[in-house]
């Protein structure tokens, strides 16, 4: 079942932020959408009946006019979320008044570890942001990118997050050419996430652990809703240069160019969605997954494979990739 265009789009408003020590999918290079471009992109998305938009960066809270943009989208009426690094929360009330649906902040681990990644003082700033947005009654989520370095902090991180009334603690995947979690570490992580879940924690591994059904966490998957990799199936990303890419892990200019990503100003979204060869190959799942009986459900993380081999070959975290 193929959709005529995405239903869910990540919109990167800029690649401006204070930078962090994780190798991010969109390293800061100062690029940004102009206000005019952003508003006209929203019109294009709404015309294609894209219902949900997640505003991404860089740091979207530093983008001038962010509350006005959210308000414009909500009046369409799109569902609007925002992924922030908690660098500036001066727009919190304006975002509440704009009717923002959801915001997500990062907690990478306990204070010392978090600050070693995101800069001194950023842990306390993030806690303040979480509290501020929870108090404003905005649906607030936390995302933790799990790497080999913070894997051991999972429970401690969950303890921190559970002190706030956030609605979800998302366990995100680190996509990196060498420093990724291998199959045993993924299995360990996802069984510990499952244990935390059993304790009543609102912790959720994201779909990008596409092989969740092979881990103890499978007990918690909603089998009717789980989609594995959603890139090119239901979602896509538009970068602040206008590139259409399958998912946020292709959101840097060099990566977008490496896959000959089409530019939204040159073609319409529906045509790109249907005709772009790379996206069609992406949708089919990884080459190493084609003979796996789970391929249509899972298909592996294409971004993880691409970052390691520059091809859509094999998901390095999948337990079956060991065989």
């Amino acid at each position: 079942m193929m959709f005529s265009s995405p239903t869910y789009v990540y919109l990167q408003v800029s690649r401006k932020c204070a930078a962090c020590a994780l190798e991010c999918y969109a390293p800061p290079d100062g690029a940004s959408l102009s206000q005019k471009e952003a508003f006209s992109l929203v019109d294009l998305l709404w015309e294609a009946k894209v219902f949900t938009v997640l505003i991404d960066g860089g740091e979207p809270l530093l983008w001038e006019g962010i509350a006005e943009l959210v308000e414009y989208m909500r009046r369409k009426p799109m569902v609007v979320g925002l992924v922030s690094g908690a660098e500036d929360i001066s727009q919190a009330e304006a975002l509440r008044n704009a009717n923002l649906n959801m915001i997500q902040f990062p907690i990478e681990g306990p204070e010392e570890y978090h600050d070693s990644i995101r800069g001194e003082g950023s842990f306390q700033r993030t806690l303040e942001a979480m509290k501020t947005f929870c108090d404003l009654d905005i649906d607030t989520h936390v995302g933790t990118v799990v790497t080999p370095q913070n894997l051991s902090y999972l429970e401690a991180t969950s303890d921190i997050v559970s002190q706030f009334s956030v609605n979800a603690h998302r366990i995100l995947r680190y996509i990196h050419p060498t420093d990724y979690l291998g199959p045993d570490q993924c299995m360990d992580l996802l069984s510990r996430v499952y244990d935390l879940k059993k304790k009543g924690r609102n912790i959720i591994p994201n779909n990008c652990y596409t092989f969740l059904h092979l881990t103890p966490y499978k007990e918690r998957i909603n089998k009717n809703a789980f989609q594995g990799c959603v890139g090119g199936k239901t979602s896509a990303m538009i970068t602040c240069d206008g590139y259409v890419v399958p998912c946020p892990h292709f959101a840097s200019k060099p990566l977008a160019e490496s896959i000959d990503a089409p530019v939204i100003w040159d073609s319409d979204l529906k045509t790109i969605w249907k005709e772009w060869d790379f996206l069609n190959a992406f949708r089919k799942g990884l080459e190493g997954c084609q003979s796996c009986s789970y391929c249509s459900l899972c298909g592996g993380c294409r971004a993880a494979a691409y970052r390691i081999t520059q091809s859509l070959d094999l998901d390095p975290g999948c337990p079956l990739s060991k065989k």
Binding site: T7, F51, V79
Partner: protein, 86 residues
Amino acid sequence: MIPKQREDVICREEDFGAIIFDPGAGRMHKLNKDGFLIWSMCDGTMDVSTIAETLSQKEGEELEDVREQVDAFLKDMDERKLIGWL
């Protein structure tokens, strides 16, 4: 009883049928082709019997079977709060 689509929901036609987006709940609902056909007739002008008769003629299927299908679909849409009744 006349079923009517909620005015604020948005329908996007697809090869497999349609997606109905409920902006209030932030939810999407997938409809297959038959569902989309029934949905399209829920414009507030046709009662349930007329919808079933129209569909039965169009598809060349027994009215009784089609009526069951229409009832089940409308019950589902009602439970999802995507339609109201006039």
